[in-house]
Each structure stands twice: as C-alpha cells, then as structure tokens.
C-alpha cells in the first residue's frame, strides 16, 4: 500500500467516464437520469501512547442514480461498479420511482450551465505525495505537544486523516461536471488531571497539504483547553452576556442556518419563513454562504446536482437577504428564485438536499481577550455538548451543556462546567452584541469561518 505521487492515483477510469457509461446503459429505461459518481482515497492514522494504534487506508468508490419521470423520483446507489451492479442500480432507481408520489416541481436541473467557476488549488499533490510514515509523524507530533503540557495525564487519541475525492455528475438533461479535491486534518483529545479532577479538551488543524498542518498547535490547543478547565464547577443560574468561542459560534450558526433552507421554509419547518427583507438579526451580523471561498472545505465548482456554487448573502447588517436553494426549491417559487448551488450530498448514497456550503461571518475587531474586556461581566463558553439532542431546528429552541470560564472585570475568571445554556434562533440572531476580529475556519460542524461572538441575555442554568 505505497503512497503514490502520481496525479492519477485514483485509477485510470475517471468518475465522469463511469457516469457516461451508466447513462448510455440507461438510454432505454424511459426516465430522466442523473448519475453521481464518487471515487476516493482515504488515510486515517490514530496514535496513542506514542505508538500507532490504527492505520486504515481505503479507496471507496460508489455511484447513485436519480431517476425522474412525471414528477416521480426514484433513487438507488451501489458500491458495485461491475456491469451487473450498474444494471441493477439502474433498474432499482426506475422501479423505485413507481412507488413515489408525483410532485409537479420534482425534476433534474434543466439547463446545463455554460461553464463552471474555476476554483484553483482544490487538489494538492501533498496528500498523495506524503508517505504513511510522514503522516504518522504528524499525529505523533500533535500527541507529543499535548503531553508536553504538565497538567496532561493522557492523550485519548491523536488522529491524522486525509481524503482525495473525485466526483462527477452527468444527466440526460445535458449536465456534465467533474472535480477533484484533497484535504487533510488532524485532531487531538487530551485529558488534564489534578487530584481527582479530570477535564478534556479538543484541538485540531486542517488544510489541503499535510505539510501545512500545524499539528503542534493542535496538540497544544487540546492541552490548554483541558488544563484551563481544571477546578471547574457550575456557576449561579441566571441571565448572562455570553462570549462564544469561535468553535461554539460555528456550531450554533450551523444549527441556525438550517432554518434558512428553502426546503424547511416551504414545508413550514422554519422560524425564519416569510421574513425576507426584515431585520431579523442584530445589525452587527453579516453572514454569507460562500461555495467558492478559497480556503473553505465545502468549496467546489458545482453542487450535488451539477449547479454552479456561488456566494450568497444570507444576512446583511442583520437583514435577511436570501434563503438557500436547490433546483427543486427554486422551481417551487415559480420563477421568483433560482438555485443558489446548495443542493448538497453527504455522499453518493443520498439524494441531494439543501445544505449550507461554507458559512462566513464578517468579523469585528480585536482578539478574544478584547471581546471579553468589552463585555465586562458574563460567561465565556468554549465548548458545548448535546447539540444533536439540544437543538430543535423546527422550533428554533437551543438548550445544551456548556463549559467555559466566568468573565469578571473584563477578563477570564474561574472555570465553569456542568451548566446548560438556553436560547433560540431568533434571540441568538437578534442579541449579538459584539464580534471579535479573530475569525478562523472551523471544520467541526460543516465548514464555518467565524470570530468569537458575544450574545446578550442567555439563560444559564447552574447552581
């Protein structure tokens, strides 16, 4: 399993060739077809106790077929790219559409774009050109950096992971698109201990070239975050001005943006329905969905159904400017909207659905310490738990566990744990009172670039 520096390390047949083959085989099935093909190469290395715990190398491949006839949609996917597999997946997709109900708006994107945006540097030779040994070293260095901090008792895991992916889409409506990209990341979970107290922290780094990963910083971040929480205890229940670390702000923004999906809006699942043009958020908040952002992990020339990605303004100085659209949700607006290139797919296994690409918050000024100084008294939240169960994307309610520090006299005070914070989408958006200038990319909840964010009037439950 040697790593190859060759550009065509993913094999001779391109995904687009496979997609064309499937379309050709499906000429007589009597339905419009869209074929989505994904080839990948992934490396995942985990170290523990200064030794390799696991190395996994894989070359996943698969395809999905969307069949549409008279507004009925069928889908089938497979990892079997042999002739039998291709014929079966075609037959299943067409069979399946018979059981679906007709929707006059269900269709494939009609008009192929004249051209796709050119996005440079999505693929970097560094991922395939770096040896397994060198990649292992990245994880070991990150672990060592965390262990070098005296309070750290154990590093639960240090992981290096990368992926090269080539994706192609072809449809009977004439869409043909193919793109290739690479990315890599590392993360560390460190545990600090003192007496009987044990606290944990996460650090990460990401990029398109392993050589650019700052693994030592990831290890140090994890260690410092864990150490800072030693001695943490709940704070008094009350209403607080909360400064959200950029990592937490990213998680909350990614949750809130679910309500900007046109699909959620059209199906009555969004608290932001019918609010276009209104001042929904604080005038300090400007938020973009930018599918072409140079350093964004969700950047791609086209979305999951072959529509060009773009930059869309969601909030401009607090005013709601746009929802996120796929070709389906745009069609449903009867000419009042067009796809914003937000038909995302988790993989070839799923139909396209409306998702954000890279969310980008316009930053304010000053680093985290400046934001705390400006807030004066409150709570700094550096991690939240229970997002999956604690955020209701329909009602907009948010209630999650949190750790962090009190903010006293404009500076970070004693550490806090075992508290919950509660708010809702509209309150969160409208009560933003300050933004830092410390924007950074956070890859943990989709792809978000945000600074630390201060929000007034958050309910904190502790002692």
């Amino acid at each position: 399993m040697k790593s190859s520096a060759a550009r065509n390390s993913l094999g001779p047949a391109s995904p687009l060739q496979v997609a064309r083959t499937v379309l050709a085989r499906g000429r007589r099935v009597g339905a419009d077809l869209e074929v989505y093909v994904q080839f990948g190469r992934t490396v995942n290395i985990k170290v523990f106790g200064r030794e390799v715990e696991a190395v996994a190398v894989a070359e996943p491949r698969g395809l999905g077929v969307r069949a549409v006839r008279d507004g009925r949609v069928g889908y089938a996917c497979t990892s079997d790219l042999g002739q039998g597999g291709l014929d079966r997946v075609l037959a299943q997709a067409v069979d399946n559409l018979r059981a679906a109900d007709a929707d006059p708006y269900a269709d494939l994107p009609e008009v192929p774009p004249r051209s796709y945006p050119v996005v440079p540097d999505l693929w970097h030779a560094g991922v395939s050109g770096t040896s397994l040994e060198a990649k292992t070293k990245i994880a070991l260095e990150a672990e060592a950096a965390a262990l070098a901090v005296p309070e750290i008792e154990v590093v639960e895991e240090s992981v290096y992971s990368d992926e090269e992916a080539r994706v192609a889409i072809a449809s009977t409506k004439g869409i043909e698109a193919e793109a290739e990209q690479s990315f890599c990341f590392g993360y560390v979970v460190a545990h600090a201990g003192h007496g009987g107290d044990r606290q944990s922290g996460l650090g990460f780094c990401l990029g398109r070239d392993p050589a650019t990963l700052d693994s030592e910083r990831a290890g140090r971040d994890a260690a410092e975050r864990a150490s800072a929480l030693l001695g943490a205890r709940p704070c008094p229940t009350g209403s607080y001005a909360v400064v959200f670390d950029s990592e937490v702000a990213a998680a909350l923004l990614a949750s809130v943006v679910q309500a900007l999906s046109a699909d959620a809006v059209q199906k009555g699942r969004s608290v932001l329905a019918g609010r276009l043009g209104e001042a929904v958020a604080s005038p300090l908040l400007t938020l973009y969905d930018d599918g072409l952002a140079a350093r964004g992990m969700a950047t791609n020339p086209f979305d999951g159904e072959g529509v060009p990605q773009q930059k869309t303004t969601l909030f401009e100085n607090g005013i709601l400017r746009s929802y996120l659209h796929s070709s389906y949700t745009a069609r449903k607006e009867d000419g009042e909207a067009r796809s914003t290139g937000n038909a995302g797919r988790g993989s070839y296994r799923s139909l396209p659905g409306v998702t954000a690409t890279n969310l980008i918050v316009r930053p304010g000024e000053g680093d985290l310490a400046h934001v705390m100084a400006r807030v004066g008294e409150g709570l700094y939240v550096d991690s939240v738990a229970g997002l999956h169960s604690g955020v209701n994307p329909v009602s907009g309610e948010i209630s999650v566990g949190a750790t962090g520090r009190l903010i006293e006299g404009g500076a970070a005070g004693r550490p806090v744990r075992e508290v919950t914070i509660a708010t809702d989408f509209l309150q969160f958006l409208s009560s933003v009172s300050d933004l830092g200038g410390d924007a950074r990319w956070i890859p943990l909840h989709g792809s978000v670039r945000t600074p630390s964010v201060a929000v007034q009037g958050i309910a904190v439950s502790g002692t």
């Binding site: 399993m1 170290v47 523990f48 030794e51 390799v52 715990e53 190395v55 190398v57 894989a58 996943p60 491949r61 949609v73 069928g74 889908y75 089938a76 996917c77 497979t78 990892s79 079997d80 597999g85 069979d95 399946n96 018979r98 059981a99 679906a100 109900d101 040994e133 292992t136 070991l140 639960e156 044990r198 606290q199 944990s200 209403s239 199906k267 009555g268 608290v271 296994r349 139909l351 738990a385 229970g386 169960s389 604690g390 209701n392 329909v394 009602s395 907009g396 209630s399 999650v400 566990g401 075992e418 508290v419 919950t420 914070i421 509660a422 708010t423 809702d424 309910a459 439950s461 502790g462």
Partner: protein, 470 residues
C-alpha cells in the same frame, strides 16, 4: 443470484496471507447489505431509495496496533490483494509479539439460525408507501393544528461473515424494519414537534395498519399537547424519567464509560471501579445482545463473538465492562460480544448492544404520587457524554411538571445535565415497567443500531436547563 458468503477455505487463505508479514491476529469481515427506504413529507412520498453494498475488510493486529483496509468487492482476487498489501505494510511503534500463523483452518459457519419468520425481501415498495400515507392521514386527522408530517420507512438485510486467524468462521443475518413519524404542530408563533417510531426484528414483516394508526395518533396528540407547554424550569430539582426513552440515561451516563477502549486508555471515570458500589442496592443494569426483538440484537458481534447478556451492575455493584477482542486480551477480560462496527468500511470498537436498567417493585404511579415536585421527562431526544469526566447531557423531547404527586403542565426546551457517577448514586426509586426503544449510537464516526431502555425511575436531583429563569 444471491451471494452466499466466502468459503471457509478462501477465508482461511486470506486471513493467513494477511498474517504472513507478522502480527498477533488477523480477521476478515465480509458483508452484503440491501436496504430500501421511503420518505414522506407534505403528504407525498417524495423519495424511494435502494442501496446495495458488498465488500470485505481485513485487520491485522500487532500489540495494540491495528492495520486495516477494505475492498468494495468480495472475490478472492480482491481480498487476496488487500491481504497482501496489509501484510507488506510496516507501521511504526511497538511491533509486539510476532506470531506467524501458517494457515488458518476454516471451520464450518457457526451461525445460529436467525430468528426471523420472513427472510425474503419483498419487492413491494408500493405497500410501504401506503403505510406512510396512513401515518400522514392519521396524524393530520388528529388536529387542525398539525402543520406537517414526516414519515420514513426503512428496511435492511445485513448478512455478515467473519473469519479469524483462530480458525473461526461465524456468520449472522440481521433484518431490521422501522417506521418513524415526526409531527409538527403550530399555534401562533409557537412550533412544536412530536416524534416516535416502530422498530421490528421479525424478518420482513411490515407493521400492521393498526400499529401505524396507533403510533401516528399518539405522536400527533403529543405534538398538540406540547403547544400548551410552558418554558422549562431552570435549576436543580428531582427528575422522574419515564420508561422506554429514559434508557438514554444509562446509555450516556454509564454505558459508554464501561466500553473497554476507554477502560484500557484509562480515559473513563468507571476505570478501576469493578466491585465498587456505584448505585443503591435496588439498581441492576445489563447489556443484552440476545434480547428478543431488540434493535441491537444479533447472533454474534462483528468480530464473530457470540452475543450474550452481560450484567453490568448487580445490586448496585459494578460487575462488568464491554469488550472487543483487542481490548479483552490486553485487559485480561472475557469476551462479551460487543465488538461492533457500522459496516465493512470500519474497524470494530467496543460498543453497547441493548442496555437497560432492571425492573424493581414499584409501579410508576406510586413513584409519581410520592413526588411533591419534579420534572417528568416522558421522552428524551438523545444525548452525549464525555466518558473521561462522566459529564452527560440529554434533551427532553416531551416533559411535564410533577406537582403534589400529579403530572401537570407540559414544559418545553429542557436539557438534563449531570455526571454519571453522581446520577447513578442519586436514583432513589425504580418501577416495574421496563420498556425498550430503538436508537442509533454514534462513536468513532460510526453509527450502530442499539436498544436502550429502563423502567420508570426517579433521580433525587439533576440540573435542568431551560429558558425560564423565574
């Protein structure tokens, strides 16, 4: 033509080849999976999706190091090539004890007959679509305040074959059928949702119309009830957790911390606590991979170890951890059949199967009547734990206040937070109404089906996080 699994001879050769470069143990995991899912929203079945997967993965372990790869194919050439690549790859770190197995002799499959009545995948997607329409129409007929109904149907048949360098070839055939309903209600600006589902482990038997009608009616009524809810209270208070969904408590507060990977790394608060009193004497807890009809049940785990029922807490004393092969050997523990993985693309880890607290003698009515003031958590929406600190959090999907021994006002937006060691000590009453619920547990980026359950129980005090500060 149906795939019938690798031959014992081929599996033995592949495993032997994988070990030929040195290592303690190697195994081959082969999987075939077929699944079908349908989704209804806005009164329409908007998608019908099929998936077919066939592939195999190989693992070679040396000391605590695992080398892993997979192929989206199961023929001898593909698996042999993968085995050869893995045996030729060097990893850094401790090479451990070098054991070279010349040839692993495959044994006939040791599979237990799957306890299913109907094994063939029916091709009738329209029959499934009909059930979703029944769910939709039933829920909408409950109230004019029902705004949206999402109903999903999913079925899958997963067949696995596991060959190990010990010469064992095991197999299992797992069929799962589920139907889930989400109902959204609205009154003015207030939107609420109700959610529940059916999970069947009875071959490809479809839910009956009556089961779907009863489920849809119940979910819709609950979503309407939540429109009368007040914001949840905030602060420390007693909590009564209803049976069924309340089992998320054991899963998060304790179960994850008993998984042997955390124990081995000493990153669990439960490490070193075997034989210690961790709960009152009327508390019992189990992980039961053989539980009849439960969502996480299988004949064997994904390393070929036969499933079993493991007692984790007996009369308040911690008695066991959940192991996979790698960690059991290192820790000197017995195999409990908990080496599980999402599919052939992933390494196995110690994972729960079906976990639950055992029943005690009280009735739930007695416990509620005996409670002056508490939060009653009827249904939980899932949770999360940090095994190192034991700190957990979970969301209350449907909650009420208990006032003077009676269930009163519905409350919304509550989150429960606490620490595992403390919450188990704080259980002060357990009822006799054990019920199991299906779920998907996430760990290491892998989702596996699990059952969680419990009888109604009361916790002396927990932190409730809501929005109401009064």
């Amino acid at each position: 033509m149906e795939y019938t699994g690798p031959t014992a001879e081929m599996a033995g050769q592949v495993v032997a080849c994988a070990l030929s470069g040195g290592g303690d143990m190697a195994d081959l995991f082969v999987e075939e999976r077929r699944s079908l899912s349908l989704r209804l929203e806005d009164g329409r079945v908007e998608s019908v999706t099929s998936a077919s997967d066939l592939g195999g993965s190989i693992r070679v372990t040396r000391g605590l190091s695992s080398l892993f790869g997979y192929a989206d194919a199961v023929d001898e050439a593909a698996l042999g090539r993968l085995a050869g690549e893995l045996s030729g790859t060097q990893t850094q770190g401790d090479m451990g004890v070098m054991v070279v197995v010349e040839r692993a002799e495959g044994k006939p499959p040791t599979s237990m007959p799957p306890r299913v009545t109907q094994k063939e995948i029916p091709s009738d997607a329209a029959g499934r679509a009909r059930l979703l329409h029944i769910a939709d129409e039933t829920a909408r007929s409950v109230s004019s305040e029902v705004r949206q109904v999402i109903a999903g149907y999913a079925e899958s048949r997963q067949r696995v074959w596991i060959a190990t360098s010990d010469g064992l070839l095991s197999s299992d055939d797992r069929i799962r059928v589920s139907l889930a309903i989400t109902v959204m209600t609205q009154r003015g600006g207030l939107i609420q949702i109700g959610r529940d589902g059916l999970a069947l482990r009875d071959g490809f038997r479809l839910p009956d119309d009556d089961e779907v009608i009863s489920l849809a009616t119940d979910v819709a009524r609950r979503a309407v009830t939540m429109l009368d809810s007040e914001p949840a209270p905030t602060g420390r208070m007693p909590v009564v957790l209803a049976n069924g969904f309340g089992g998320v408590l054991f899963h998060e507060a304790c179960g994850h911390g008993l998984e042997a990977d955390y124990i081995l790394k000493k990153t669990s608060v439960w490490e070193g606590k075997i034989g210690c009193r961790v709960a009152p004497e009327f508390v019992f807890a189990y992980d039961d991979g053989l539980g009849e009809g439960m969502w996480g049940t299988g004949a064997c785990d994904d390393e070929g170890t036969p499933s079993e029922r493991t007692t984790l807490i007996e009369a308040g004393v911690l008695t066991g951890y959940l192991t996979d092969r790698l960690r059991a050997v290192r820790l000197g523990l017995t195999l409990t059949g908990n080496g599980r993985r999402q599919d052939y693309r992933y390494l196995p880890y110690p994972r729960m199967t079906n976990t639950y607290f055992g029943a005690d003698r009280h009735t739930p009515q007695e416990i509620i009547a005996d409670t002056p003031r508490a939060l009653y958590a009827k249904s939980l929406s899932g949770g999360e734990v940090n095994p190192a600190t034991g700190d957990f959090v979970f969301g209350v999907a449907e909650g009420y206040l208990i006032e003077n021994g009676k269930i009163t006002t519905p409350v919304r937006g509550a989150t429960l937070i606490g620490s595992g060691l403390e919450v188990l000590q704080g259980i002060d009453a357990v009822a006799d109404d054990l019920e199991m619920k299906p779920g998907t547990c996430g760990k290491e980026g892998q989702g596996v089906p699990v059952g969680t359950g419990q009888p109604t129980l009361r916790i002396r005090e927990l932190t409730v996080g809501g929005t109401s500060l009064s």
